[in-house]
């Protein structure tokens, strides 16, 4: 669904690249965490998927399409296939919950009746039924993030990108949000989530891609926030460490363990 081929992103010629020859493939229906220290390039990765920025070199493929080859007037169509959620929710303060979610459908020209049918359904998915008429300031942070998630997925994108969606939330609320994201993932949406939240990553046991200074230093399935053996050169042993678990169920991501990219 998302494929990075040797992608390098340089913002500032004098500084090191934000992403440095990244090779990575995230399959349809997968759930992947992007982890790494601040400034390691997680947000840059997500921005490249959205074509908010262009890669300095290398190619980014989204749903089989090289995003560099998408003409600017077709970028909106690319973005309709991708939902995005941020740490700061980005709701419209003067619109209520229903209107915030409906906004995403209005701007792409969905009809009133489709909106009336779809929005409550999506709000139910994120666990906000009955709160349609609340204003954002009348909601808790977790509820606001649910609204943001509802807005991101209301047009049924194939991909959901989340940039530290739980960054402003307490652990319990965060787990609630993760439940929502997991449910959306179960429905077939590919989810990529950048996070610093080790508890969540450890709890979820999904694929983990770790970046450091723009380089992928770890890529493990069903992994923990910190690998026991995070060094790239020792990826063989990495496989031994986490591989066993992978064979227990047969969820997507199998066979990816130890595929630490060079």
């Amino acid at each position: 669904m998302i494929r990075f081929e040797n992608v390098t992103k340089v913002y500032d010629q004098t500084a090191r690249p934000a992403l440095d020859s990244v090779n990575l493939e995230i399959d349809r229906g997968e759930f992947a965490f992007l982890v790494g220290a601040s400034g390691s390039g997680k947000s840059t990765f997500l921005r490249l998927v959205l074509k908010e920025d262009r890669a300095t070199s290398g190619a980014v493929y989204v749903a089989g399409q090289n995003v560099a080859k998408i003409s600017s007037w077709r970028v909106p169509r690319l973005r309709r296939g991708i939902g995005v959620v941020f740490q700061d929710f980005r709701l419209l303060p003067q619109k209520n919950v229903f209107a915030n979610v409906a906004f995403a459908m209005q701007v792409i020209g969905k009809s009133r009746s489709v909106i009336r049918d779809t929005v409550p359904e999506v709000l139910k998915t994120v666990g906000l039924e009955g709160k349609e008429h609340r204003m954002p300031h009348e909601l808790s942070g977790g509820e606001q993030q649910r609204v943001a998630i509802a807005r991101a997925v209301v047009n049924r994108p194939g991909i959901l990108l989340a940039d530290e969606p739980t960054g402003n939330l307490d652990p319990t609320t965060s787990m609630g949000i993760m439940g929502v994201l997991d449910k959306i993932n179960q429905n077939g949406t590919t989810v990529v989530m950048a996070t610093h939240d080790d508890d969540i990553v450890n709890e979820m046991r999904k694929r983990v891609v770790e970046l450091k200074n723009g380089v992928v230093i770890r890529d493990e399935a069903r992994a923990l926030y910190t690998s026991m053996i995070p060094v790239v050169g020792q990826s063989r042993r990495l496989k031994d460490a986490s591989g066993r678990e992978a064979h227990d169920d047969g969820l997507p991501g199998e066979g990816r363990e130890g595929e630490a990219q060079r």
Binding site: L50, S72, W73, P76, R77, L78, R79, R80, G81, I82, G83, V84, R90, L92, F103, A104, Q106, V107, I108, G109, K110, S111, R112, R151, A152, N155
Partner: protein, 304 residues
């Protein structure tokens, strides 16, 4: 749906910065009023030129009933007198100064008079009899007016010889000067309008960056994102243009039509109806000023 959405966006945009929108309306109103005033002055000049102005320079008016000039002792011009005047005009002594000349009968004079004064009540009180017949002369060199004047003034059957150009040219040069001033002021005001529209759009884009950011993320097209801003400027400018057109109409109707034409009954003024042909031009000018200036602004301040 999308149209309804764009309209509601425009509505909220206009409400959100009312004061800026009002200033855009006023600035385009004033600048386009000056543009229109220049246009009106030119229309008025054309109106005053009447039928003959661009075709001839000198008019020899012939005697009619009740003329008191010395050459009119015999009353209205006789066919013989007219014949000999015609011969004189064709004689080599005079013909060398003339490109060509035409005879305007009383009936033709009445027709041209009616055209020129169609907006004025005076037209109803004039009959063909009251208007003199004339020879209209197109000079090779308009400066040689004196020669014609001296030759014909004393001829029997001639009431008077008039150099129309000289009469009107000074007035026209004043009016042309005034339209230049109006165009100059209009130019400055238009620059103000463009800058103000650009600033307004920029503020509007800034105050709605949340919305536009979200619209971008969920894949709204460039049109849906930008159109409300552009139309906001265009609507304000069109309102200004409509006010300007209304003002010009009011000036023509109340000032020229009522006041001036009573003060100067022998001058042909443009009608208020005529100023309405300026309105579409002003509306288009206003709309395109706003459209272009907001498009350029958005290219810089609203990433899509």
């Amino acid at each position: 749906m999308r149209l309804a959405f764009i309209l509601s966006e425009i509505g909220s945009g206009l409400r959100r910065n009312v004061s800026m929108v009002v200033s855009v309306i006023l600035v385009t109103f004033v600048s386009l009023t000056f543009v229109g005033a220049a246009g009106m002055l030119q229309m008025q000049i054309n109106q005053m030129k009447g039928y003959w102005y661009d075709k001839v320079q000198v008019a020899i008016f012939l005697c009619s009933e009740g003329s008191t000039a010395p050459g009119c002792a015999t009353g209205s011009v006789t066919p013989e007198q007219q014949q000999s005047l015609n011969a004189l005009l064709e004689s080599p002594a005079v013909a060398q100064y003339i490109n060509d000349f035409q005879f305007e009968s009383k009936e033709e004079a009445y027709k041209h008079f009616k055209d020129q004064f169609s907006n004025s009540p005076i037209v109803d009180s004039v009959t063909p009899d009251q208007l003199p017949a004339s020879f209209r002369i197109n000079m090779k060199d308009p400066e040689k007016y004196q020669i014609i004047s001296e030759t014909f003034s004393s001829q029997p059957g001639v009431e008077t010889v008039i150099d129309q150009r000289q009469l009107l040219e000074r007035l026209f040069s004043v009016m042309n000067g005034a339209s230049l001033v109006a165009v100059g002021i209009a130019g400055v005001m238009i620059v103000c309008a463009i800058l103000l529209i650009a600033t307004t759009i920029r503020l509007s884009a800034f105050s709605r960056r949340r919305e536009t950011g979200i619209m971008r993320l969920v894949g709204a097209s460039k049109t849906v994102i930008q159109l409300p801003f552009i139309l906001e400027g265009v609507i304000a400018a069109v309102i200004g243009a409509a006010l300007a057109s209304g003002t010009l109409w009011a000036v023509a109707h109340f000032f020229l039509g009522d006041y001036m034409s009573r003060q100067y009954p022998d001058t042909a003024f443009i009608s208020s109806g005529q100023t309405l042909i300026l309105a579409p031009a002003l509306l288009i000018l206003g709309a395109s000023l706003a459209g272009i200036s907001s498009l350029l602004t958005l290219r810089r301040y609203l990433r899509v």
